[in-house]
Amino acid sequence: MFITFAFVTLLGALGMLLQKNVIVAGLCMVATFFGVAGLFLLLANPVAAALQIIVYSGAIMVLVLFVIMMLNSHEEEAAQTARPVQRWVSVALVAALAFGAVKLVLTSAGLKDLARSGEPMPGAMTLQKVGTTLFAEHLLGFEVAGILLLAAMVGAVALTKRDL
């Protein structure tokens, strides 16, 4: 199961990176989000999986697809100046970063201990536990997130409206 969802996630992401058409890239990204939601289910966290599907695959993707269709720019524009050196340097840096980090994860002794001690499966996350923690311990953070969302909403309207 894990390997299936991991493949869906990574192949979706790779498809997004390599796809020329922006809409197809967006749909590849939906596949990635569903794969990540599956990983959250395997992590015994159905709350996060449901939120992932509702917020990312639902809200954010619809927003992105609306903007793609509104701008009517389905293909990437031709490059103004080709920058082969910068592109190859960035590919090399990303590959080195990924290789180094994966190697570090696989050789770390602390992570091995944590993986061994975490073997017994804790009970699945419930909405009740999340709600209790959210409102008992993080009430201020919750209110700040609400204000942030309001500010983002006002800002988005102010930025897109031609004459306020």
Binding site: L43, L71, E76, V94, A98, V105, A115, A145
Partner: protein, 109 residues
């Protein structure tokens, strides 16, 4: 369950490797693609990679609810970023008729 076995069957290291590769692909998208919308999707991928690592650690440290609360905050911030980022892309398209980040390098109108 450690090493190669963990990667194939979903141990902690397996989730972390998936998160790291997802982050690397997102970073590559931001660096290699020129369309602002694609770069924005790359940023979303990187946020998702951070979420996978966060919830994997939470599961292997006893299934604490704190991590899910922080996941909630992260997606709230990601939603704000989506709204503002796309509004900026639309604003740029109105002013310059392009969504290419190379063509939007100057500050002059």
């Amino acid at each position: 369950m450690t090493g190669m076995d963990a990667i194939l069957n979903g141990g902690l290291q397996g989730y972390l490797v998936v998160a790291l590769l997802l982050f690397a692909i997102g970073l590559a998208t931001v660096l290699l693609r020129r369309t602002l919308l694609m770069q924005f999707m790359g940023v979303e991928l990187m946020l998702n990679a951070a979420n996978v690592a966060l919830l994997a650690f939470a599961r292997f440290r006893g299934g604490d609810a704190q991590a899910t609360v922080f996941y909630l905050f992260i997606i709230a911030v990601a939603a704000c970023e989506a709204a503002i980022g796309l509004a900026l892309v639309i604003g740029l398209y109105r002013h310059r008729g392009t969504t290419d980040s190379d063509r939007a390098a100057g500050l002059k109108q």
